[in-house]
């Protein structure tokens, strides 16, 4: 089975190619190609996962090309971490394919959409099975391409165009960091292979400064992909893409790739305390920061997007706080419940044709399947006990606490509170109360859409039991087979931590209930109490504007400056030379005044000058 695992990414690729060929087909049954092929991938992934669960693993590589003495290799590797990722990715991908069959109904570029999905899945799965950094980097970029294409799927919308561009560029900034880190590592280690890098790290071949530098560079890549502070701004904008895309790429898989990257390179990070601290701080700040923005957004998908950013921050925080298992655990659970939330949101949008939560309301009755599923998702993400989010979040908090990062711990708790609050703000605004928008034609989505949500709903509930102190730490045992030496065993901090977490969730939900359901508290009491703060938060801390004012304007200014420089200095020099020559030419033809005597005079002058030079240089006067 494992030997065949390299085929897993290729099925979606096949789907991509086939669907591109059928790009003009009007038949929507083309979707089945994608569904089927990703289904095969899913089955194989599960098979692989089960094999790895048994303790197997494989790494196969061949020379891709050779430069001088060095061979650049390509191949595939299966280890506990990426086997898990394979399952997550192929599962969500499969479900999203299925869901899209319904969601994209009637779109004139229906096959193209599935082709893009296939391309993305290929890239993501390829990324996961990469045995070395270079290959990872290549798929890393291709994943970005898939994301770009899908965000810009509605290419005729200016917002989609802008969002796609922004997503690509912002992630590219991160990618360059990864690139630098990778290349620096190469010159330290002489290889891109994970195991060789880890071996070098272990042997102490790399100076600590270089370790930190490379780790941080790689982390920049993760920051870009996972929408961490300060490169997060693309992710909410990416919601311009079709909703299934948001579920697949911008919730469950691609954005988690950053976390995956840090996890995959964990031994490197472990070797540098500074790097880990940076990861943790960035993660923690992102978590609370994004959560704060999520409080006031009006677009259902944007709320979810900020929630995603925030949750990714959690994962980073976990990894930074040596909570390797916690991070991956949360990655897993988050993939399920966030994908669920997005698909549910998609279902809602599908029903009401708007994304503005102010124009929704009272949908609970109409969307009998979506509503409860959304509730499950919301509960899970809020960290309500017994649902998956509770367990994973709890572990993160525990790790953070255990690692001694108390400040971050409390930050995370506050973020948890906020999460609960805005999720339920969302829930209440969308599903309860009066309908504020159009009600006509609102109906539940077809089963091809609800089925994936149900599957995810189930997973959102049960995934938490993968790793609990109560039933067994399956996940950490499983991950312990991998190359990463798990730090300090498991973090099981003080028993009050789950309580605090639950309390935070409860507080958030309660507050949301009071404001949005009961109306006990005025909706705008915060806005009124802290108008300026609210303003800032509502405007996403003015980060986009700040970038516009500084980086974008600066770059554009430099460019304009360059244009001027090109015109006036570079071309100016040329013009100056040209003018000089033409001036000479003018003088020359002026001298040629038609007077033969002047010619003679000029000639005599010429001769006299020559003689003078001879006289002066030859020592005539001495």
């Amino acid at each position: 089975m494992l030997q065949m695992s390299w085929l897993i990414p290729l099925f979606p690729l096949l789907s991509f190619i086939l669907l591109l060929l059928f790009r003009k087909s009007k038949s929507e049954s083309t979707a089945w190609i994608g569904v089927l092929l990703t289904g095969i991938s899913l089955v194989m992934s599960v098979g692989v996962f089960l094999a790895v669960w048994q303790g197997e693993g494989i790494k196969t590589e061949g020379t891709w090309f050779q430069i001088g003495e060095r061979a650049i290799t390509m191949g595939f590797e299966v280890n506990p971490l990426n086997a898990l990722m394979l399952v997550i990715v192929s599962l969500v991908s499969f479900l999203v394919h299925l869901y899209s069959k319904g969601y994209m109904h009637g779109d004139e570029r229906f096959p193209v959409f599935f082709a893009y999905l296939g391309l993305f899945s290929f890239a993501m799965l390829g990324l996961v099975v990469s045995p070395n950094l270079l290959q990872l980097y290549m798929f890393w970029e291709l994943v970005g391409l898939g994301s770009f294409l899908l965000i810009g799927f509605y290419y005729f919308k200016p917002e989609a165009k802008a969002a796609a561009k922004k997503a690509f560029v912002m992630t590219r900034i991160g990618d360059v960091g990864l690139f630098i880190g990778m290349v620096l590592l190469f010159w330290q280690v002489g290889s891109f292979e994970y195991d060789e890098i880890f071996a070098s790290v272990k042997n102490g071949d790399i100076s600590s400064g270089m370790l930190t530098l490379t780790a941080l560079c790689i982390f920049v890549g993760a920051v870009g992909k996972s929408g961490q502070l300060p490169l997060h701004t693309w992710l909410p904008d990416a919601m311009e893409g079709p909703t299934p895309v948001s579920a697949l790429i911008h919730a469950a898989t691609m954005v988690a790739a950053g976390v995956y990257l840090v996890a995959a390179m964990y031994p490197l990070f472990q070797a540098s305390e500074a790097a880990l601290t940076v990861v943790a701080v960035v993660g923690g700040l992102t978590a609370i920061f994004a959560a704060s923005i999520g409080l006031m957004q009006k677009d259902i998908k944007r709320v979810l997007a900020y929630s995603t950013v925030s949750q990714l921050g959690y994962m980073m925080l976990a990894l930074g706080a040596s909570g390797y298992v916690a991070g991956i655990f949360h990655l897993t659970t988050h993939a399920f419940f966030k994908a669920l939330l997005f698909l549910a949101a998609g279902s809602v949008i599908h029903a009401v044709h708007t994304q503005n939560i102010e124009e929704m309301g009272g949908l609970w009755k109409k969307l009998r399947i979506t509503g409860p599923l959304f509730l499950i998702g919301a509960l899970a993400i809020s960290g309500v006990p017994l649902l998956s989010g509770f367990f994973s979040k709890d572990e993160i908090l525990a790790s953070t606490y255990a690692d001694g990062k108390y400040g971050l711990f409390w930050l995370a708790v506050i973020a948890a509170f906020m999460t609960a609050f805005y999720m339920f703000r969302l829930f209440f605004l969308v599903f309860t109360g009066e309908a504020r928008g159009n009600e006509k034609g609102v109906h539940e989505s077809p089963s091809v859409m609800t089925f994936p949500m149900i599957v995810l709903g189930v997973l959102a509930v049960v995934a938490g039991y993968l790793n609990t102190t109560w039933f067994g730490t399956f996940l950490s045992d499983y991950l312990a087979q991998g190359p990463v030496e798990l730090p300090h065993g498991d973090h099981h901090g003080p028993a009050w931590i789950p309580l605090v977490a639950t309390l935070a969730a409860a507080l958030g939900i309660g507050l949301a209930y009071l404001i949005y359901q009961k109306g006990t508290l005025s909706r705008d009491w915060i806005t009124r109490s802290f108008p300026s703060l609210a303003e800032v938060i509502y405007n996403k801390w003015y980060i986009d504007e700040g970038y516009d004012q500084t980086v974008v304007k600066g770059t554009r200014g430099l460019s304009k400056l360059g244009v001027l420089f090109d015109r006036y200095v570079v071309d100016g020099l040329v013009t100056a030379v040209t003018n000089g020559v033409q001036g000479l030419s003018k003088i020359g033809s002026r001298l040629q005044n038609g007077q033969v005597q002047s010619y003679g005079t000029a000639a005599i002058f010429g001769i006299v000058i020559l003689l003078l030079i001879v006289a002066l240089t030859g020592g005539y006067f001495s």
């Binding site: 050779q66 165009k161 020099l573």
Partner: protein, 505 residues
């Protein structure tokens, strides 16, 4: 047959000239088809040459050498002769570039279907141009190199000046004068080398310069002389490449020349600069080259960033692409400055890759121009709607240009930077800023055309089948190199290893 193979290849475009002579000049259709056939013929021979070429073989292959000109000089030492030979041969590097030339020429000939007038003289000049390019890469001595180098100039002058756009003549002159400066410097250097060493052969020159300094002193070759020659060579090829601040002609040419010619120009002619730097700079003066590595790298990074910055705010897609060429040539320099296996290979890969990518992009821009009569970004929008294939290929080309993995651009960028990071990590890190900027300007331009609300074009038809051939072939080649670079790197390795041996020693 093999003994003459290379010469047959070089002069094979002349067959086209010959045939065209007998075609009435108003017979548009047959001229155009003959134009394509005339380029297919050299391509066929190039493939024969490729098959005769031993992959991974050391040194030159398929060499030919005939006595050509000889000057006899009476000196105090007695009679010394200064012979000039007709010497051609291929190594991995030139083989690659010859193939590139043959392929791009065919595609450009197909792209020339959009030429509106004077097809006969157009194709005659086109063939002469191709002959020049093939000759440049096959030449094995300075004299021959120079001759073919100049042969490319003249047809280009006409092709730009006669078939170009509005300011074509200005562009033609710009091209001529700037390249004239380059070739002027080249000529001085070549003659100086010839007079000092008595040979023009690349290998012999490289050998002579590798002699110990004591022996060189007898030939009046000082270290300063070598350095001076190298700098002069670099400047000369910097014009061709082009390197900031000698780039303005190239922008003008890219904007004004007919698309098919820009394909050739950007695809191959600029590469002569890179080829020259590799063969003459690194190949003949390795020590000096090494000591200048930082400067070269610096100029590479400046080129990369300068081109990228300027491409950011251009409003004409041709200008964007022109500055993007400036930027991409910076990567060649970066690779060369690295002076290690990766850098060198990266530089050559970039040469090939940019040749393909820019040929593709300019071809598409030409197609767009034909449909809209404009190349202003603001004239386009939502092209993807009516012309999905064009838009798709354009997007793919753009992505290749910004170095997306799986396409040739990535391999070259990756290797060039990988190389530079070993030697000058800080400079390289500054240079990576260019990778971001590239993404920004490429997407800005590509998306402005393909995405967004649809704008009226006076003729909105997707790529016709004759247009698809160049587009798809180029795209396929880009993907092929991106996915299977070993084919190229294996061909190059012996040649580059030989050069690197000098640089490393």
């Amino acid at each position: 047959m093999n003994a003459w193979l290379l010469s047959i290849l070089i002069f094979s475009p002349l067959l086209g000239v010959l045939v065209l002579m007998f075609v009435p000049s108003n017979d548009e259709k047959s001229i155009k088809w003959l134009g394509v056939l005339g380029t297919l013929f050299p391509l066929g021979i190039a493939l024969v040459v490729l098959s005769a070429f031993k992959m991974g073989g050391e040194g030159l292959q398929l060499t030919e050498k005939f006595s050509w000109i000889s000057y006899e000089v009476f000196q105090s030492k007695g009679q010394v002769s200064y012979p000039i030979f007709y010497e051609v041969g291929v190594n991995g590097l030139s083989m690659v570039l010859i193939l590139l030339t043959a392929v791009v020429s065919v595609l450009a000939a197909i792209a020339s279907f959009s030429i509106k007038q004077n097809w006969k003289s157009y194709f005659i000049l086109f063939f002469l141009l191709e002959m020049g390019m093939l000759g440049v890469f096959a030449a094995q001595n300075l004299f021959l190199f120079f001759i073919f180098f100049e042969i490319t100039l003249i047809p280009m002058f006409f092709l730009i000046g006669r078939w170009g756009y509005l300011e074509k003549e200005k562009a033609a002159y710009s091209f001529l004068i700037y390249n004239g400066v380059g070739s002027a410097i080249l000529l001085i250097v070549f003659v100086a080398l010839f007079m000092k060493t008595g040979t023009m052969n690349f290998e012999q020159l490289a050998y002579t310069f590798s002699l110990p300094q004591a022996e060189l002193n007898q030939l009046f070759i000082t270290k300063g002389f070598k350095m001076g020659m190298l700098i002069a060579l670099l400047v000369a090829f910097a014009v061709k490449l082009p390197v900031f601040p000698l780039h303005s002609w190239m922008v003008r040419v890219h904007v004004q020349a007919p698309p098919a010619i820009v394909m050739i120009h950007s695809g191959i002619l600029l590469k002569i600069g890179a080829y020259g730097v590799i063969v003459f700079g690194a190949g003949m003066f390795p020590d000096q080259f090494k000591s200048l590595a930082f400067v070269i790298g610096l100029f590479g990074v400046i080129n990369l960033l300068y081109g990228a910055f300027l491409a950011l705010t251009q409003t004409d897609v041709k200008r964007v692409l022109a500055y993007s060429s400036v930027s991409h040539m910076g990567i060649v320099l970066i690779g060369l400055a690295a002076g290690n296996e990766f850098g060198m290979t990266g530089a050559v890969f970039q040469v090939v890759s940019h040749g393909l990518i820019s040929a593709l992009l300019f071809f598409l821009v030409g197609a767009l121009y034909e449909r809209s009569g404009s190349s202003e970004l603001s004239a386009f929008g939502g092209v993807a709607k009516r012309m999905p294939i064009l838009a798709g290929v354009f997007l793919a080309g753009g992505l290749a240009s910004l170095g997306l993995p799986g396409m040739s651009g990535f391999i070259s960028e990756f290797m060039a930077f990988l190389g530079l990071f070993e030697k000058m990590p800080v400079l390289a890190a500054v240079g990576t800023l260019g990778l971001i900027l590239t993404a920004v300007y490429v997407l800005r331009a590509v998306l402005a055309i393909t995405f967004g609300a649809e704008k009226e074009l006076h003729e909105a038809r997707d790529l016709t089948s004759s247009e698809r051939v160049p587009a798809f072939v180029l795209l396929a080649a880009i993907l092929f190199i991106g996915i299977y670079p070993a084919w190229l790197s294996d061909m190059l390795r012996p040649t580059l290893d030989a050069i690197l041996l000098g640089l490393g020693g």
